[in-house]
């Protein structure tokens, strides 16, 4: 699944600039403790977190996740989005909860 597919599946909104290279999403990772994410998230994960501070794009870079998903319609700080854009990190927001996001992703995989 690629970013565009993900956005369609979870009714998402792209908050950052579109990155040039297609990034493949391999898995989903859900966690809100940045230190835990640092040592456990894997390359290619779509990382779901309610955190929106400027450390989020830094951790996304460190772990090489495919994108960040902000659930439940939470607003993201301008500084966070600027840092993400500078470093080609994709941040997507959606009104759904982490559980609902996963259900939608799994369902779309079953359909393919």
């Amino acid at each position: 699944m690629y970013i565009d597919d993900l956005i369609a599946v979870i009714d998402g909104k792209l908050l950052t600039q579109k990155v040039k290279n297609a990034v493949k999403i391999e898995n989903v990772y859900i966690c809100d403790l940045l230190s835990w994410v640092m040592s456990h998230a894997q390359k290619g994960d779509a990382w779901i977190t309610v955190l929106t501070n400027v450390n989020v794009p830094a951790v996304a870079m460190l772990t090489d996740v495919a994108c960040v998903i902000i659930p439940e319609g939470i607003d993201v700080e301008e500084l966070t989005l600027r840092k993400a854009n500078e470093n080609e990190i994709t941040i997507i927001s959606t009104k759904y909860s982490a559980f609902e996001i996963c259900k939608k992703i799994i369902k779309s995989m079953d359909n393919n």
């Binding site: 403790l33 940045l34 230190s35 835990w36 640092m38 040592s39 955190l51 501070n53 450390n55 830094a58 870079m61 460190l62």
Partner: protein, 239 residues
């Protein structure tokens, strides 16, 4: 006597702090600003403190050894110690609980260790800007009870890495004697929700990552005489 303080200052060891936060720059800027006492509080380390203490010798400025510990709950806690030995003891424990993640300078910044003449001695290679596997309860217990220092929840009015953002309150089982507020403008909203804080001492520190962020001679504590022990003691007394 009333002494002007800023008890939350980062040196260039903190990856997020400016590389100009060297011992001589911090000490001289603090003196220029008219401060009487500062604390050096880098993330999870006190490796630059001795150089800064030495640098301030024979000046009017008192330097308190400190560490800003990031607990397992990702809460930042300012820990102040009466001497370098106790700070180093705490650092040893924190280092043993830090995850084995190498710093990536291009993402987080450099972690520079200086001597008292601002010569670069080395760089810390492990990432300091992350949580150590030590609970906030453990930090309070060790710092306050075993090491005779004081643990102070940092910037409790912020959205990230604060005791209130993590817990939504100040838990009853943590003996908080003093809290740090980063912005006086948001103070009233925080305090009005937390009756317990009415009796807790509040301090206002800069969390300076750049030289110009260091506080002016604005905030004071009352001490009998200007010693580290007296400052720590006065912070531990309720309002």
């Amino acid at each position: 006597m009333n002494v002007a303080y800023d008890l939350h200052i980062h040196s260039s060891l903190s990856p997020c702090a400016d590389n100009d936060m060297t011992p001589n720059n911090i000490v001289n800027m603090s003196i220029l600003k008219g401060l009487d006492v500062i604390a050096i509080t880098d993330h999870n380390s006190c490796a630059n403190v001795q150089a800064i203490v030495n640098c301030a010798k024979n000046t009017s400025l008192l330097v308190i050894p400190g560490i800003e510990i990031e607990t397992a709950e990702e809460i930042h806690v300012i820990c102040l110690f009466s001497d370098m030995e106790r700070a180093a003891e705490m650092q040893k424990l924190v280092y043993s609980r830090l995850p084995d993640i190498k710093n990536k300078e291009e993402i987080f910044g450099e972690q520079l260790i200086f001597d008292e003449k601002d010569n670069l001695i080395s760089k810390e290679s492990r990432l300091l800007l992350t949580a150590a596997d030590i609970t906030i309860n453990e930090v309070f217990d060790i710092v306050n009870n075993e090491l005779n220092g004081i643990a102070i929840p940092a910037h409790i009015d912020r959205q990230a890495n604060s005791i209130i953002s993590s817990f939504g309150t100040i838990p009853e089982d943590i003996d908080v004697k003093c809290v740090e507020i980063s912005d006086r403008n948001t103070e009233s909203t925080i305090i009005s929700n937390l009756i317990k804080l009415n009796r807790t001492k509040r301090i206002y520190s800069s969390d300076a990552h750049y030289l110009w962020d260091i506080h002016e001679r604005e905030y004071f504590v009352e001490v009998e005489s200007l010693t580290i022990t007296n400052v720590i003691k006065t912070l531990g007394v309720s309002k």
